[in-house]
């Protein structure tokens, strides 16, 4: 490799200071290597939006023991609700766990606010020795003799050289595309999330959601909540605010000509949601894309001199019961860092050496999880499972509970009549049952 001025030459360059990038930079710095973390925002987290429940507590605990004692976390999630909605009714499954690692260390998940959390995590990478440069947009990769040798930052003399580049630049990853590792996406592969943070007194949150002290709850909503748009909604408790939002598949928003912020208003007005958000005061509105197709939108993960991790690699599990991206971002960032460290030890940065990344992703359960759930996204994010069936559950319950003097029907004939009245064919229903089982059970 040609030599470059020392201040422009690094062992590893990480692009993007989200959970993937900061975790990667932290690990590389701890290995004693010279690492640069580049972020286009004014500070890490300035451009980032999640729900957000961070389910990577145990992972982060390996890196920073008892990390929650110093990090800006909101509430440990000890209740999880899944609600099936019709336009006027809701049926919910309520999971509560006060012990067993949910309300006690190492905790299962915390609600976080990304601008605060990401800033803290990047500061940990910096404390470990990483150089962090904010307000720096990377526009392209640099190549020499066909391999990637660095990145071009948008400014004078923006060429920066590194033996390995790790692209952690999120869902729109320009870097993966510039490197020829990723294709353009289709509107059905991505969902748009619009979100609000509503300020609310902690004492009200505690009473309203039946929470002990600083415990938190995460609600996921399926069914008629997004009308006929394929998607769902969420509501999470923070210390003194609620985070809530609506998620809709881009292609389906287009087809139905629905504006996302209008769906958000209708969500808040739903009779099952309105009492939960009452009195909340809007602090911030935000929007961000989610890669929803998992395995199907995975790019080529490495090439000579470069690795891809996090949302940039499609490692976001968005399938009905699950909305987990931050933890997988962190896991894949760590796997990429381990790969880069090994390459630096060997002094070889070819695609062949970097192919160890695949093994590292397996060891960290990233590729294994995404393979296991490869059938879930395309099906779960479809109209019947996300919208129609949940709505039918909610309507069915209404009929079971309604007492109006008409003869009581047993559940099976009731279900039979509902299926008959819907657009679903019995064969379709059976196939769907099989698909759900294949997606989640085995």
């Amino acid at each position: 490799m040609t030599t470059h001025p020392a201040n422009q030459q690094f062992d590893v360059i990480v692009v993007g200071a989200g959970p993937a990038g900061s975790a990667a930079a932290l690990l590389v710095a701890r290995a004693g290597l010279k690492v640069l973390l580049l972020e286009r925002g004014e500070y890490p987290g300035a451009k980032n939006v999640s729900g957000a429940v961070f389910y990577g507590s145990a992972i982060l605990n390996e890196l920073i023991p008892n990390w929650w004692e110093q990090a800006p976390v909101e509430r440990p999630v000890c209740r999880r609700d899944i609600a099936f909605m019709s336009p006027t009714t809701a049926v919910a499954l309520d999971f509560r766990c006060a012990g067993a690692g949910f309300a006690t260390a190492p905790y299962n998940g915390f609600t976080v606010l990304r601008p605060k959390f990401d800033r803290w995590l990047a500061a940990q990478a910096e404390a470990a020795g990483a150089f962090v440069l904010t307000s720096a947009v990377v526009d392209d990769v640099l190549r020499e003799n066909g391999r990637i040798v660095g990145v071009r930052v948008r400014r004078e003399q923006g060429e920066i050289y590194g033996k390995v580049v790790i692209a952690c630049d999120g869902v729109n990853s320009f870097l993966a595309k510039k490197a020829g590792l990723q294709r353009e996406f289709h509107p059905h592969e991505l969902s748009l999330g619009v979100k609000e943070v509503l300020g609310l007194d902690p004492a009200i949150i505690q009473d309203r959601f039946h929470l002990t002290d600083n415990d938190g709850i995460a609600y996921e909503y399926l069914g008629a909540i997004t009308e006929d748009v394929h998607g769902g909604a969420f509501l999470y408790t923070n210390r003194d605010s609620l985070s809530l939002g609506v998620i809709g598949q881009v292609s389906s928003l287009v087809e139905r000509r629905k504006r996302p912020y209008e769906l958000l208003e209708r969500f808040k007005a739903h009779p099952a949601v309105a009492p939960l958000v009452r009195g909340g005061k809007l602090r911030e509105y935000s929007a961000h894309l989610i890669p929803e197709s998992g395995w199907a939108m995975k790019p080529k993960l490495y090439t000579d001199g470069m690795l891809v991790a996090g949302d940039a690699a499609g490692f976001c599990l968005a399938a009905g019961l699950y909305l987990e991206g931050m933890n997988y971002a962190m896991q894949s960032g760590l796997a990429a860092a381990e790969t880069a460290i090994l390459a630096c030890q060997k002094g070889n940065f070819s695609a062949r050496t970097l192919s160890v990344y695949q093994k590292n992703l397996k060891q960290r359960h990233v590729s294994t999880d995404f393979r296991a759930y490869r059938h879930a996204p395309s099906f779960v994010n479809g109209p019947r499972l996300q919208n129609l069936y949940p709505e039918m559950v909610a309507q069915g319950m209404e009929q079971i509970f309604r007492v109006d003097g008409a003869p009581k029907r047993k559940i099976l004939p009731l279900a039979y009549r509902m299926v008959r009245q819907s657009s679903i064919k019995p064969g379709q229903l059976l196939r769907d049952v099989y698909q759900v089982a294949r997606a989640y059970l085995w």
Partner: protein, 95 residues
Amino acid sequence: MVMTTHEEKMRTVRFRVGATPHIVVNSEICRNECSVHACVYVCPANLFVPLDDGGILFNYEQCFECGTCYIACNQEGAIRWSYPDGGYGVTFRES
């Protein structure tokens, strides 16, 4: 209050507006080749204003940089999309 208009929502977001637009819309293509006008519906910041002649009026200043318009636009070349200069654009504080 809990229920808010889109204008009220946008007022809660901080933008540091750069001098050059990071997204440019070629209204000629919108006018002549597009019947869907997907951008008008999907943009969470409501930045695409349909004109009477079928074209689009676009202002980049209050953009979330989410990429949805680029993904949704069905006409090749109508949207030139990139990120604003470093440190400019949207800056979330709570999300």
